[in-house]
Symmetry: C2
């Protein structure tokens, strides 16, 4: 506890101190996330992370108060990654249902391509089941996704948009989860999402 700074700023407030772009802290966090994606949370040890990041052991213990802090930082980094991915594909702003389904399918397919990072997402959920700090972060993220989805559904004229949004997201999560252990890619997602949405949308 005698270390002096550089800790405690896990989410928000990116880099107050020195922080060149290729910051040492970022390199460590990215290495940790890669290790989680490849080998699960168990694979995150100070030594393995340091080796993967190409820094000595002392560096990871300098930037992170404990292993749990390092893991949380890696998951925060993952969430930023996913939000960037969502922004790239384009938010579900289409006012009709087809555009929304297109967005969801594109998102799922892109995630499936980088399957290892998909795994990190569910590692995060399980870790959060026993880490209240991460659970709060995750909850905030999930609720924000529900809100965005509900808005898009409302614009498309859906009844009970929030309930519909939760169903869509649960279906997506269940789908992604089953993709984790399956080799064949199940092409029916698009049709199944359409069927689910048809229960909430007026016409057709």
């Amino acid at each position: 506890m005698s270390t002096t700074r550089a800790q405690e700023n896990v989410l928000a407030s990116a880099q107050p101190p020195a922080s060149r772009p290729g910051d040492r802290r970022s390199v460590i966090v990215e290495a940790a996330l890669t290790l989680i994606a490849e080998g699960g949370v168990d694979a995150v040890t100070h030594r393995k992370v340091a080796a993967a990041a190409g820094v000595p052991l002392g560096s990871t213990t300098y930037y992170f108060e404990s292993r749990a802090h390092l893991i949380r930082a890696a998951f925060d980094h993952y969430l930023e990654r996913v939000q960037r991915l969502q922004a790239e594909i384009g938010a579900p702003d289409g006012s009709n249902a087809q555009a929304l389904v297109d967005f969801l399918v594109a998102f799922a397919e892109r995630e499936a391509q980088e399957r290892s990072y998909l795994r990190a997402e569910y590692e995060m959920t399980l870790f959060a089941a026993r880490d209240p700090v991460l659970a709060a972060t995750l909850e905030r993220w999930l609720e924000s996704m529900v809100g965005q989805m509900a808005d898009a559904l409302a614009r498309a004229g859906a009844r009970a948009p929030e309930e519909a949004a939760r169903s869509v997201l649960d279906l997506m999560r269940g789908f992604e989860l089953s993709q984790l252990t399956r080799s064949a890619p199940d092409p029916t997602l698009r049709h199944r999402l359409g069927a689910l949405l048809s229960a909430y949308l007026p016409s057709e």
Copy 2:
């Protein structure tokens, strides 16, 4: 590898050798499952399992060739447990949709009561993502559930019963997953399942 027997029979062929009902092997497996439910797969170490089962360290290494074998046995035990639970609630044999939804909701609520074991289920999925042996077992179980669900939906007159079954199960899994990190229990599952099924069922 110089040990002689009692190994290798993970699934099927319950107890060839001695096997009183309170078998030592079963005690160990149950302790391992409890540890997974409470602390995740990481918590399964030979020493912790032995302590939880009230047996010396040597016992767990005698009955299980390696830590991975022990974990697989624990998950096999979990699957038997879930199948027993399904049988107790009663299979989804009702020929109308309402009975099916009742079954699903009852199942989800009962699972939510023993949240720790719910956690074990998703620990299993993640473990299976990197353990081909367990992945095969899990895949078999999931496909069997899809089959049962599709049969029940077909009896209820659903179109595309297998596709509908997959959507129902994915929705359930996504729902359970979000329950893992949430405290409030979300009472909308029943209505949401009804909405999903209405897209596949003829009348109403």
